[in-house]
């Protein structure tokens, strides 16, 4: 059977490509890049929140936060598995992360400076992630699409929890309200930039759209996100830190101010607030754990040898 023709047919019919199907090398490469980046983001994304587990201000919040960070580890694992079906071993992807050769979402290079950041991350960062990811549940590559379905379900749960944290703070003491506003001030613009550069500067998008991996442009998704945020911000009682934000009657959308793309490029280029720290943290965990992984591998080998001899 002609693999190329069948691939084109499946894409044209908006059907699923599965691991055993023939696919163009560029499609495979593009997916591995995107899925592993996504996995890395989940793994690096554990850190800003893990930073507050020990200090969570109530046991209930501590439990919720722990469970959330654990979910992120789980998402990382699903995604590595999905990427593995394309032939790249997880160890190889993980090593690339640890060596600083792989990308992850820039948003996680910002520090969490207060408890309200747990709310802002849930509401804004997970919110943006969901906008990005819901369309990916229909991505043409089957294992990726299925991983996304599961992840999106949990993410929307996380977003609600973030919203609730902020809501509680906004109903709290003046100090708590100030804390919430401060966190929203710091996380709002970075979360808008999570959708990537404006459409006219986005390089990979066209091909990804043609392959039914990406469904909407960066700017479209960003607009959808802003439109979603405005009423939620009102419900919370927080101010979105954009003096140019206004409802445009003509388009029916909320127009937003210029974003600082220079800052975005800086963070992407390694000059964000926490780039060094995030990588060093993950690398330290990886290196400190080497002896444990070696012990487990050696033990497994010995067990296998013993089983073989017994047989």
């Amino acid at each position: 059977p002609d693999g190329r023709a069948r691939f084109d047919e499946l894409i044209a019919a908006d059907s699923r490509i599965e691991p055993r199907d023939w696919m163009p090398a560029a499609y495979r490469k593009n997916l591995v890049r995107q899925i592993s980046q996504h996995a890395h983001s989940e793994i690096i994304g554990m850190q800003p929140e893990a930073n507050w587990i020990s200090r969570a201000p109530s046991l209930k919040r501590k439990a919720i936060l722990m469970a959330k960070v654990q979910d992120e580890a789980g998402h990382g694992l699903y995604l590595y598995s999905a990427a593995q079906t394309l032939g790249t071993p997880r160890d190889e992807m993980f090593q690339a992360l640890v060596d600083g050769r792989a990308r992850y979402s820039s948003i996680f290079n910002y520090p969490t400076l207060g408890w309200a950041d747990m709310g802002a991350i849930g509401w804004l960062v997970d919110g943006a992630a969901i906008c990005n990811q819901v369309p990916l549940c229909r991505a043409s590559y089957g294992p990726y699409a299925r991983a996304m379905v599961r992840i999106c379900k949990e993410e929307s749960f996380h977003q609600r929890q973030g919203f609730e944290i902020l809501l509680e703070l906004m109903h709290g003491t003046p100090a708590q309200r100030a804390m919430a506003q401060d966190a929203v001030d710091r996380w709002y613009a970075p979360s808008l930039m999570m959708f990537g550069p404006p459409d006219e500067e986005s390089v990979n998008s066209q091909q990804s759209m043609a392959w039914n991996i990406k469904r909407f442009s960066n700017d479209d998704l960003r607009q959808r996100f802003v439109d979603m945020l405005v009423p939620q911000a009102e419900a919370l009682g927080v101010t979105l830190p954009d003096p140019d934000l206004r409802f445009d009657e003509a388009t029916g959308h909320w127009a937003y101010g210029e974003l600082d793309w220079h800052e975005f490029q800086e963070v992407l280029g390694g000059r964000g607030p926490c780039n060094t720290q995030r990588l060093a943290h993950r690398r330290a965990a990886f290196e400190d754990g080497a002896w444990v992984r070696e012990a487990a591998a050696a033990y497994a080998r010995k067990q296998a040898d013993a089983a073989e001899q017994a047989a």
Partner: protein, 245 residues
Amino acid sequence: TADAAEYALWLGDDALVLAQCLGWWISRGPELEEDMALANIALDLLGHARSLLSHAGTADGRTEDDLAYWRDEREFRCAQLAELPNGDYAHTLVRQLAFAVFQVELYDRLQESSDATLAAIAAKAAKEVAYHREHSTEWFRRLALGTDDSRRRLLTALEHVWPYVGDLFRDEPLLDRLEGVAVRPSTLRAPFDQAMGALAAETGIELPDPDLARGGGRHGIHTEHLGLLLAELQVLARAHPGATW
């Protein structure tokens, strides 16, 4: 009763402090699966702590958070074993194994407590700590029989941690007033020793003297580690007295 509340506090503080220690590992585990496993165990323990502290608080109208965030070091009742520093993975594992083996025996018997709440908490916890024990036991084998380095680290960890184990089994005077409600720690010693003895024999490990350390956590005498642990645990809640979250 106040006595039953005090007993619930002991067990609750053990679980809370352990959960706090284990939480540190999330994002720092030797592999992602272990990040998840340790988070799981921490979550279970945190759940036990919440139930036990809530129960302890009913005696005088305090909430789980009142007890977790507004008591000072000398008012905590965890065993010193729970507060020992995480150290490397082997230290954490040894501490966790000792607790898991202890708690399996404890919650097994506590299900028959005449205090219905304690019995219900124990029934739920029993299933979870059985998994904790399995997890720790399996890792004990891996470290003991894996590489020379892992075995050496395991032995070092045992040397540091095991002296605090004996304290778990002391029958404090409080127990005399809780016949039928609490489980006498001393009655858990034999099954604990048997389980650990079997594991040690299987792996050719010699366990150090478990009674070397003084202990005293049930009386509010702690190691120097607890103060710093509580500073971190309580800092945010205490910065905002009266706030809800």
